[in-house]
């Protein structure tokens, strides 16, 4: 699925948000494994939820924004290709003017 939505370049761009996500994951796992103040279902639940909510939120927003940008890029590229093809087909007749789509 992700390969269809994102090309390699976009995935590379999106790694920028993987880093803060990774930091959150490290803290999440760390607090899960080591809890010097003990485990309390409410407080520890909130503790982990704060990190998890924002980590998941970050990934969701990154996914949708990346998808929107990626789709827009694909549409632009397709339009450019179509334009070039039309120009080639019309040859010299159009005299370099833009061909209406």
């Amino acid at each position: 699925m992700s390969e269809k939505v994102f090309d390699r370049e976009t995935l590379l761009d999106l790694t920028v948000n993987v880093i803060p996500f990774g930091i959150l994951v490290i803290f999440f796992v760390g607090y899960l494994l080591f809890s010097p103040w003990g485990f309390d279902s409410v407080i520890s639940g909130i503790q982990l939820a704060i990190i998890a909510v924002f980590g998941i939120g970050l990934m969701i927003l990154t996914y949708y924004s990346g998808a929107a940008v990626s789709k827009a890029e694909m549409r632009t590229e397709a339009a450019l290709e179509a334009e070039e093809t039309a120009e080639l087909e019309s040859g010299d007749e159009t005299d370099g003017e833009e061909t209406p789509e």
């Binding site: 948000n17 959150l24 909130i46 990190i51 940008v69």
Partner: protein
């Protein structure tokens, strides 16, 4: 009593029906102007009003995004002057440990008002000024999605400012019954509940109005960027400034209504006997949670658009495109999300559970990454670039420099053990002033100088612009670095006098540091006086910009839509704006202060092509002409260090 209430209810119902009926008759929310005879009552809603009304009526009735942008800008600069003078007052007071200028109460009042003025009356509006004027131009929109809401959003601000400052005016008139609020900008309870001064209520109401204004503006920007983009603008090529405005607007949408609710609760606690923030109710901690849930995203509300400005402007004078454009976009969005998960790092010392502290520390450290990513992108854009050290570029570089100091000092504060030592000291004040003045202020100045030719049609005075930059840069660093040192010495913030602080550090050292900060503030003051003079005089008398690309952006393929619009406007004005003689007559009249023909031919571009500039001998650029210009251009490769050193001089 019951009958009265019934009557009142009935009247309210009728009023509601009238409002619904009026709203139902509006056919076209996007019509250009309500004074044009169409729109509001269902008649002709076409663009019938070709020209704007003249004089004051134009400014009172305008719904044109550019005019509203100018109104926001004027308002913000007036607020900046007021807030700046308050800051000077604060620094004058702290020259001596016993206080130099004012009584403690007046000090508290200007301290409170300085913070609120700079954040709500300068910071948010100056960004709205840029966004209103330039976002529609950058995205190819005709106007904002809701022009009238845009106008309403602005016109809520002047009464907001009057209410916030009301205590200062009313104190002498009421014999001290109503005073300026002394709650500090954070309005912590129980202090803000227990102060009986009605000036606090007025300030809260004023703040509420500014919050409503910001929310209306944010909705408008979101709608505009989503629905009003030109056919050729999509998510892949949306400019970086619009991306940051979109993210900022989303933050406003979630943060400001919460502030509004908290303010209403505080007003009710003060006036109606409710117990939201009383010990029996939510307690003082409830206020802090609500306030900082708004307050920390507010930091990013203020800083993201200036980051967008710098991301837009800096590449223009580096001669290359922004490195990692999409990194900057995605990191902006990351900051947007994470900014809501860090609020309690302002509250580490309140005794909250250490497990919760640990979580907020984690998110606060994580949010440093996207901020750092941007910094690396700006530096990489500069690396081996062909730099032109124009005034907007200098402010961009100053922005990056200040952001590194302001940002890194913030990372330390995210760490719980460090924060517990530095909390409530001048270190915190130094850190956030590096951001609000050194970053947000510098970003705003970069935008003002960069777009000055567009929104005034004239060019500013280059020498004064650079003087403004250097005085601001030196003043900012002297003032706020001294504050960082004061914080390390343990000097508590907000004190009107600090003889008592001698217990934490040698008083001589504290006094010296405070005096250094005050000297820096005076340097800043001189810089800002020069800015205001340059801004006003150049707008009125500066050389007219008669070329569409005053920064030579086309050379590097970076000419954006707003400059294309600027060029179109110039060419349109030449073709149908009356006779040529009339045009030149206007020009010569405006240049009556000694301008010669040669001046008229060339506009001082402060960074355009050197060949053009070397020929310019305008009196507005009495700084040496060609030599200095040539030194300014730092070519890529070669001995950049030497050359940049020369240009600094």
């Amino acid at each position: 009593m019951a009958a009265e209430q019934l009557l009142l209810t009935g009247l309210m119902g009728v009023l509601l029906l009238v409002v619904i009926a009026l709203l139902g008759r509006v056919e076209d929310w996007r019509s250009y102007t309500p004074l044009a005879g169409g729109g509001a009552y269902g008649g002709d809603s076409a663009h019938v009003h070709e020209e704007k009304p003249a004089g004051l009526i134009r400014w009172l009735t305008t719904v044109d995004h550019k005019d509203i942008g100018l109104l926001y800008g004027t308002y913000a600069i007036i607020a900046f002057a007021v807030g700046g003078l308050m800051a000077v007052g604060i620094r004058l007071q702290l020259i001596t440990p016993e206080g130099t200028a004012f009584g403690n109460q007046f000090y508290n009042a200007i301290l409170t008002s300085h913070g609120i003025t700079m954040l709500f009356l300068f910071g948010t509006p100056i960004i709205a000024a840029f966004a209103n004027y330039f976002v529609p131009l950058l995205i190819g929109a005709d106007d904002m999605a809701f022009p009238r809401i845009n106008a309403i959003a602005f016109w809520l601000l002047p009464p907001g400012a009057i209410l916030i400052w009301a205590g200062f005016f009313l104190e002498p008139l009421t014999g001290g019954t109503i005073q300026a609020a002394q709650t500090s900008w954070t309005m912590y309870t129980p202090l803000s509940v227990e102060q009986v001064n009605p000036g606090v209520d007025l300030m809260l109401l004023g703040l509420h109005l500014t919050g409503v204004s910001a929310t209306m503006g944010a909705i408008n920007f979101i709608a505009t960027i989503f629905t009003e983009r030109g056919d050729d603008v999509n998510w892949a090529n949306l400019d970086i400034f619009s991306w940051t405005i979109l993210t900022q607007s989303a933050l406003i949408l979630f943060a400001f209504p919460l502030l509004g609710s908290a303010l209403v609760m505080l007003l009710m606690d003060r006036n109606l006997g409710t117990l939201f923030f009383a010990q029996e109710g939510g307690g003082a901690m409830l206020w802090q949670h609500l306030f900082w849930f708004f307050g920390h995203p507010e930091v990013y509300i203020l800083v993201l658009p200036p980051m967008g400005l710098v991301s837009l402007i800096l590449p223009k004078f580096a001669g290359r495109k922004l490195f990692g454009f999409k990194f900057v976009v995605y990191s902006t969005l990351a900051i947007g999300v994470l900014s809501f998960g860090v609020w309690a790092h302002h509250m580490f010392s309140t005794g909250m559970d250490p497990r919760l502290q640990a979580s907020f520390m984690a998110v606060s450290l994580a949010i440093a990454v996207p901020s750092a990513v941007k910094t690396f992108n700006w530096i990489t854009t500069l690396w081996n670039g062909s730099l032109r050290l124009t005034t907007p570029m200098l402010f961009c570089i100053g922005f990056v420099s200040n952001f590194i100091i302001g940002g890194i000092t913030g990372v330390f504060l995210a760490s719980v053990p460090v924060d517990l030592i530095l909390h409530d000291t001048y270190y915190v004040v130094g850190h956030f002033h590096y951001i609000v003045m050194g970053v947000i202020g510098f970003g705003a100045f970069a935008g003002i100088y960069y777009w000055f030719p567009v929104f005034t049609g004239r060019m500013y005075q280059k020498k004064l612009g650079k003087a403004h930059f250097w005085l601001s840069m030196v003043g900012t660093n002297v003032t706020f670095f001294a504050m960082l040192l004061l914080g390390y010495l343990g000097m508590p913030r907000r004190y009107a006098t600090y003889e008592v602080a001698a217990g934490v550090a040698p008083l001589d050292l504290l006094t010296l540091s405070h005096q250094a900060a005050s000297v820096g503030a005076l340097i800043l003051l001189i810089g800002q006086i020069i800015f205001v003079w340059n801004f006003a005089q150049s707008w009125l008398e500066g050389p007219e910009v008669d070329e569409g690309d005053p920064w030579d952006l086309e050379k590097t393929g970076q000419k954006t839509k707003e400059f294309q619009w600027h060029e179109d406007r110039i060419s349109t004005a030449l073709t149908d704006g009356g006779s040529e003689s009339g045009e030149s007559g206007t020009t010569s009249e405006l240049r009556s202060d000694g301008g010669s023909e040669s001046e008229e031919e060339e506009v001082v571009t402060d960074g355009g092509s050197t060949s053009e500039e070397s020929g310019t001998s305008s009196e507005l650029r009495s700084d040496g002409g060609s030599e200095s210009e040539e030194e300014e251009v730092v070519t890529d490769g070669g001995s950049t260090s030497e050359e940049s050193g020369t240009s600094s001089e």
